[in-house]
Symmetry: C3
Subunit: 456 residues, 3 copies
């Protein structure tokens, strides 16, 4: 427990190693792989993450019932192209894996442009970008291409090839459990199923992997569970197979779209005032950068599953630009230029700071609750009185003593006082050292708020 107090309150310990550039190069490394919700591209991605942190890779057979869903057949693809009558490849998966509709069934035949057209997806408003489309749950096939290219296609016959397989196999996902001294868990989850799209969600993968590397290196009070799962079906599969483990998840973050230049945006959990919701608000405010707080909604990434009413976990989401809010979303515009080392780095710092607050957020009881204890005789207060203002740490101690009635957590004290959490935590450390505070052993940060949480 006291060991956990040594977790740095800011991630300055990690500053020197240039996390931003490291994450950006990981994004670049993963970019060319053709991922999907199953298959070898997904497996290869998990293997690359496992080179950085000791990830366990799990394989769940096709056909396994998972909640209201079924694990689908495994999809793999070797090549896909459309050739014109001269034999020139007018669309080629080898150049960009977005060109094929993800989960397309195999096809190999000639057809007229008129027959082909219903299988072609473009963005008329963005004629130079290739859209990203999927057909996971309906057997179908198609190509995505630049609208500009489509318009230049002459009438005539085309040879179409999608050399894919859709067979019983497995759904793969990665998991890393970092035990702490306490069984309460923090879930960090990101989706790993999108092909060559950088912000959505190689950015989330890179930040989650870096955060896991950092947490591996420090003593932990809480237990951390990192999930690298295909979107929707992966989260549903994990939940279906781990209903009991899910009960230990006390806080969670979905990381998605954290690499672009937009301000950080935290989307609250369904609970709305869970500890993670209040932590993220404090950490973002203390970051002194622009940020956005959004209310929960049941659309988005895997918070949809974690916050379904049957689980109702305290899982929020950290993003920058959100799904559908930026033109590059789900297009070839979401490429290596769209993600910046500095954005990845700042996203990582906020996550790291949030985990630090969760680690250090406790409730205490003032052992000298009647009147103020005499801080001066313990060397905790200036000797010469009369000057204008108390030192910042003196004020932090007064707030901590005043509100430490066994009910208010340090997070609540920081919020109510407007003083940085780190200063409140330092005050609690000093006061504990002088025997003025006793830590409450009940783990919950706020009995009153927790009670209302149950009722949500």
């Amino acid at each position: 427990m006291t060991a956990a107090m040594t977790l740095p309150l800011s991630n300055t310990a990690f500053d020197s190693s240039d996390w931003g550039r490291q994450m950006q190069s990981f994004v670049a490394e993963l970019f060319p792989i053709c991922r999907s919700i199953t298959g070898d591209g997904l497996r290869e991605t998990l293997r690359r993450i496992a080179q950085r942190v000791p990830l366990q890779i799990h394989e769940v057979p096709s056909g396994t019932p998972v909640l209201d869903w079924t694990v689908p057949k495994e999809w793999n693809i070797r090549e896909a192209w459309v050739k014109d009558s001269s034999g020139r490849r007018v669309i080629d998966f080898a150049l960009c894996n977005l060109h094929v509709v993800n989960y397309s069934v195999p096809v190999r035949r000639s057809m007229s442009l008129a027959e082909l057209r219903p299988h072609l997806y473009t963005l008329p408003d963005r004629p130079d970008w290739v859209p990203y489309r999927t057909s996971y749950y309906k057997e179908s096939w198609g190509f995505c291409l630049e609208h500009r290219v489509l318009e230049a296609l002459p009438e005539g016959d085309y040879e179409v090839c999608i050399d894919s397989t859709l067979r019983d196999g497995h759904l793969s996902y990665g998991e890393l459990l970092l035990p702490g001294t306490c069984p309460d868990e923090v879930l960090i989850s990101c989706h790993v199923c999108h092909p060559s799209l950088c912000n959505d969600n190689l950015s989330g993968i890179a930040v989650a992997a870096a955060l896991a590397q950092q947490m591996l290196a420090v003593p932990r009070r809480l237990t951390y569970r990192f999930l690298f799962v295909p979107g929707t079906i992966g989260a549903i599969t994990w939940l279906a197979l781990h209903e009991n483990e899910a009960r230990y998840i006390r806080h969670g973050l979905v990381l998605a779209g954290v690499g672009d230049a937009a301000p950080l945006a935290y989307k609250k959990s369904r609970q709305g005032s869970a500890e993670i919701d209040r932590v993220m608000e404090v950490v973002l405010r203390e970051s002194a950068k622009p940020f956005v707080i959004k209310e929960f909604s049941p659309y988005g990434y895997d918070e949809r599953q974690y916050c379904s009413p049957g689980f109702n976990l305290a899982v929020g989401r950290l993003s920058r630009s959100a799904h559908g809010e930026f033109p590059e979303y789900h297009t070839s515009g979401d490429n290596l230029n769209f993600v910046q080392a500095a954005s990845l780095d700042a996203s990582l710092r906020v996550c790291s700071e949030a985990l630090s607050v969760l680690e250090n957020n406790r409730r205490y009881s003032n052992l000298s609750p009647k009147g103020e204890p005499q801080l001066g005789k313990r060397g905790l207060y200036r000797a010469i009185g009369g000057s204008d203002e108390p030192a910042k740490i003196e004020l932090a101690m007064l707030w901590t003593l005043n509100l430490s009635d066994g009910r208010h957590s340090l997070l609540e004290i920081a919020t109510r006082s407007g003083i940085a959490f780190s200063a409140i935590a330092e005050a609690a450390r000093l006061l504990s050292k002088h025997g003025l505070l006793r830590e409450e052993t009940d783990a919950s940060d706020s009995p009153a708020i927790n009670a209302s949480r149950e009722e949500f």
Copy 2:
């Protein structure tokens, strides 16, 4: 129950028949009648309403004790005038029934202008309008006239005649009960005691009668009680004689002053967050027209009685310009020109929409609450993924599934999601049809809110 789901979610079913003009012509028909809190003008008014809906007309004898009050003697009037020394009628009830102070006792004698003056009421600031004055509970007499006319009266003797009677008789009121499949009641109440004043309250009478006509024509889950009562004493009389029935009133609206050009204004019930209060807020917001929400106050129309602490019914009030807020209030300026068909029509639409929300507001439990159910396999979700935005109905289904934990009503889901109630209700219908939702049978729209209501 399912029958009730067929109640149209908007009143488009009623659009074709030009309710606005119909209501305006009813206002014109009732305008000339000299109404009071008792008497033949009141009876005649109720008879005209009864020509449109199967109204029951009740007669309560003078002297009946009703709560802290007593049903007064019945007042009737044949004629009333003031003649100058030349025999010319300078004031004449036959021209405008506002000229006599309502409930004036009979008088027939000559007097000087000086003697007459204390019995004359004018509006010095509005010299061309006749004020409306009453003296129900103190035996008195008087005339109301244009200030301009008063100033022109020469000194001299005048002959004064009020040919009225104030005798034991009855207080009349009209009532229409439209039973539904459920005994919970919706009260629609309006005052019917004012003489030739259009907005206050022939407008309320016309809208209430039209609403009753509409509700007669549709299947009903809830039971509807329409009251056409003289102001204050009528509501008190009904409450005194129906204390037990009043317990079934779960929602209510007083309709008063709903025909002028001002924006609609909803005044909350004393409870302040009753279902009707939240319904009216949602319906007015969805109307996409300017509107006002006012907190409860114990002054106004018959909501004063329904919201007295011994009843504390969930009865709000819909008005446009409120009592005392417009210069025409309680004067001859509140005439046929002051009330507009379009305003009457829009008031009716909002009422109709509110009843539709009350009919369709239920609570459901998601039968697949762990993770999202797979909507796609049920044909409820697009097959090709990746495009920017979910369809509106998809979003409505996700919200409805996420919050249908047996505690949130559809109204609460509409409010929290910002999605129109009609779309949420349609989503609930679709999801129920596919076995994904089960309706909760407990009638209350929100157990948590209802609990706090008891405590108000």
Copy 3:
């Protein structure tokens, strides 16, 4: 009980005697005395207060353990000066008692300017003002002087004399208990330890003494306890010796810095919505002058002690400029010119009004709760109906009847209605007289709010 209703609702009864000038002259009378947290200056100050109200002066021996503290040795001083080599007094306590660091131990010797310098305190930014400094709990000595004077001191030897004593003795404080018909107490507390500083806190002393004079002269429902105590150690001493009595304190005000020209500022108690907090907000709003409401913080004056978590009393603070917020704070600039009769007077009026609200704040039950009672037959309502607006007292009666369900206090009715507390109290008086209200005997002003208070 009914006697208490005769307490004037505004302090007009006291207007004639020019309290402002009387308080200002009391400030001037006390100004020259050298006060500290113990000693003869403090005793002399209490004696002067006792000439105005029947104050009990208590003496607590040095060494008495009080909560986490110990009553210190008693400090007294005869003279203190620094002479230059020519024998001229360059600093002289006789001219201004701020010149010596309060609680300086005795010293008598020659030293160089270099040796003397660490014992000299100045304000470089305000070179003409003498700062106020203390060293209560660390044996030390020093002088405070104008920075301008310090800069003019030539090098050379100086003779230094502080003729003080620091010996076992007593801590003195003054107390006045004014019993009411009910044991619930109102605490009025001010600090009396500062030497020649006017706003901080001769202003608080003068207002508290005047308020005590006023309360002596009127019948009281509540019991009033006035404390004139040295800051921090005095409040701690009183709390340590009166833990049981402290349980009777239901409301309290610390008065500090109430004489300058800044708007009145009320700092809420730690409870945050205690009755005193709501009373002060209503009274300041009704004063129709600018004012400020501040949230509780654990820094400030003796509310720090009364609001420590082991007591958590409903004690707020009334001030104008607060500690550290004005340049004159804790300097010779806080002199007789800084405090104004009009400010003292307005501070007194607000206190007086607040006590009047506390005296008259009750809960009632409407004895005719079903419908409105017929006010007209009791002569409480206009006989001629139809005019625009009800009289103010009619509206106050309607609100009081509507919310008097045994749960809402008059204060809550005033707050919700926006009507002045005095009008609501007058309405309650009229309605009680006519048998329409019954006072609830349970003393608490709001059962719901009190319940949540326990949980704070």
